[in-house]
């Protein structure tokens, strides 16, 4: 039986996702030569070096076999054009690990997706390097600077309001200008299905995000095409599919509850479309992912509150008691519906065990013959409003 994603070991999950993502290098090599592999290697090596350096500075143990670092390095590479200078690839890796991971406290305290931060930073700081792509089929030199013609992506023509000139088959097969790992739509779809079967990604988050994007693009197409073609173009451009399958369902960032993951997917899909309609930059999936990551902390809380409210205000006491009894939970005479810990105000423990009280301090000082010490005037406290 396959364990759900939230209960799996994150290390094994990241390793699986890394292997699945590495499969995208095969069509990339067919399109652009060995350079995509060199860029990926540069990103991964710089990620590992930055991780080592940050661990030394923080004086914590360095884990050379952390698959999350390899995964993030490869993600950064996949979001870049094949012709990007190697130094920018290294810079992305440094930002990804130093800013995305270590400054926020490591793997278990992630706030944002590290490759999303790196990609967003590079898109704003170096749009020329990130948003211009070699044409499909051009051979790119392995180490030297690429001097051939550069083209804009399909998403750019949609942003201008024009119908893409590339055929849907070309878009599916990846014969369009684009990032290393995000243009091969057919391969990404196949890998996505494999990951769903292996439970390496979140079904609920993925489907809800895709459904939201599809719904909005069908109802409000950006370009003059039929709703079905609008859905096709929106899903297959702008690194959306790659981002939803690989980056949106990070084990350390995904909400715990299933309903919360549905909300997460809907919010992500909606934010992506709002950025596409009103934003000024391409590849807006990474920006939308940053905002959704910032909000993801509240999705679990919302769902828990709704469940508590439903249990305690909509359902009757007797109905809940019967449901709990049928579920096999044994209730004692004094047991009531179990409240979540944060709502237990002054309620005794369910099994009736009484905690021993601490001895109280006497309210009045004991009477002695010695004179009292004179009180010292209290110093004025330094109140600084707004200070940390």
């Amino acid at each position: 039986m396959i364990t759900p994603i939230t209960e799996r070991d994150p290390r094994k999950l990241y390793l699986e996702r890394f292997v699945f993502m590495a499969a995208l290098l095969i069509p990339a090599v067919f399109r652009g030569g060995i350079r995509p592999i060199i860029i990926s290697a540069v990103c991964i090596i710089f990620c590992m070096l930055t991780d080592w350096a940050c661990c030394r500075i923080r004086r914590i143990k360095y884990d050379a076999k952390d698959p999350a670092i390899w995964f993030w390095g490869l993600s950064c590479a996949m979001l870049m054009p094949a012709g990007i200078p190697h130094i920018l690839a290294g810079l992305a890796a440094v930002i990804c690990v130093a800013l995305g991971k270590h400054i926020f406290g490591g793997n278990e305290n992630l706030v944002f997706s590290p490759p999303a931060i790196a990609a967003a930073f590079l898109i704003i700081c170096y749009p020329g390097g990130m948003l211009y792509y070699p044409r499909a089929g051009e051979v790119i030199p392995m180490f030297s600077e690429y001097t051939g013609t550069l083209a804009r992506s399909v998403e750019y023509s949609m942003k201008l309001g024009t119908v893409p000139t590339q055929s849907p088959l070309d878009i599916l097969l990846g014969n369009v200008p684009g990032a290393i790992g995000t243009v091969n739509i057919l391969v990404i779809l196949v890998i996505g299905i494999c990951m769903l079967i292996k439970h390496s990604t979140s079904f609920t988050a993925m489907i809800s995000a895709i459904a939201t994007v599809a719904g909005i693009s069908a109802l409000y197409p950006r370009i003059g095409v039929s709703p079905l073609m609008s859905v096709f173009y929106e899903l297959s451009t702008g690194s959306l599919l790659f981002g939803i399958i690989f980056m949106a369902a990070e084990p350390y960032l995904l909400p715990k509850r299933r309903a919360a993951r549905v909300i997460y997917g809907i919010v992500l899909g909606y934010t992506v479309m709002m950025f596409r309609y009103f934003g000024k930059v391409e590849m807006c999936f990474v920006f939308a992912l940053l905002i959704t990551n910032a909000l993801s902390g509240c999705f679990d809380t919302i769902v828990e509150n709704v469940i508590w409210w439903k249990r305690n205000y909509i359902s009757s006491f007797e109905g809940n008691k019967n449901k709990l009894q049928q579920g096999g939970v044994k209730l004692t005479d004094t047991q009531e519906i179990e409240l979540p810990a944060k709502y237990r105000y002054n309620t005794p423990p369910i099994d009736g065990a009484v905690k021993s009280r601490k001895p109280r301090k006497p309210t009045a000082a004991p009477i002695t013959d010695e004179p009292d010490e004179p009180e010292t005037p209290a110093e004025a406290p330094e109140k600084e409003v707004g200070d940390e």
Binding site: I124, C125, K383, E384, V385, G386, D387
Partner: protein
């Protein structure tokens, strides 16, 4: 000169309680507007002329007046001090002053004047307060110049207005970069302050052990 009559100079405002990097009381001008050395100079001069002079003048407002009314007086004095400041800056920096004008205007409600005065400055003797407030202004200047020079080099490839190279990172003049840069500098400042505090505590403990 008798050393006992000299006012005690506290350098807290320079690093340990730097209002930009440690307390975070006045950050908006540095984060958004301090993108070159010249702009940092304008912001520092405006801060000196508006905030520092207002602190010195408002010291004479009687403490018997309730804080609700006193705070109005503080803001009023700062708004009055803005008038000669704006005229002076427009005369000295005719091109650049206009670009940062809004971040000079909002200094009339900065937290150094409205919060720090009540919690620190007005509890000290006048001479000490004047020197202490000057340290805080110098701390602001240090933060402004460091941020301004770093961003000038990254965004324009210039140092002190002279072009040195191609701009390594043109987006360094954006707001988000300012936030991240000031955050990292705040962490560096905190690390240096903690290191110095630990060294002085260690030195004190050795001295006490020797005694």
């Amino acid at each position: 000169m008798n050393k006992k009559n000299l006012p005690k100079v506290s350098t807290d405002g320079l690093f340990r309680q730097n209002i930009v990097l440690m307390s975070g009381l006045v950050t908006a001008p540095i984060i958004v507007a301090a993108t070159t050395f010249e702009r940092a100079l304008i912001l520092t001069l405006s801060f000196l002329l508006i905030s520092y002079t207002s602190i010195l003048i408002c010291r004479f407002i009687p403490r018997k007046i309730v804080y609700t009314v006193r705070i109005l007086a503080y803001v009023g004095v700062a708004a009055v001090m803005y008038i000669p400041t704006a005229l002076l800056l427009n005369a000295w920096f005719p091109e650049t002053a206009h670009q940062v004008s809004i971040y000079v205007e909002i200094l009339i409600v900065n937290s150094l004047l409205l919060a720090k005065t009540e919690s620190r400055f007005y509890l000290m003797p006048y001479n000490e307060m004047a020197l202490d407030a000057l340290m805080y202004v110098l701390g602001y200047a240090i933060a402004a110049f460091v941020v301004g020079m770093i961003r000038e080099f990254l965004a324009f490839g210039q140092l002190f207005g002279f072009r040195v190279c191609d701009a390594p990172m043109p987006a360094a003049k954006t707001t988000f970069f300012g936030f991240i840069l000031v955050g990292i500098l705040a962490a560096v400042c905190r690390a240096i302050t903690n290191h110095r505090r630990r060294r002085s505590e260690h030195a004190d403990s050795i001295r006490k052990g020797a005694e």
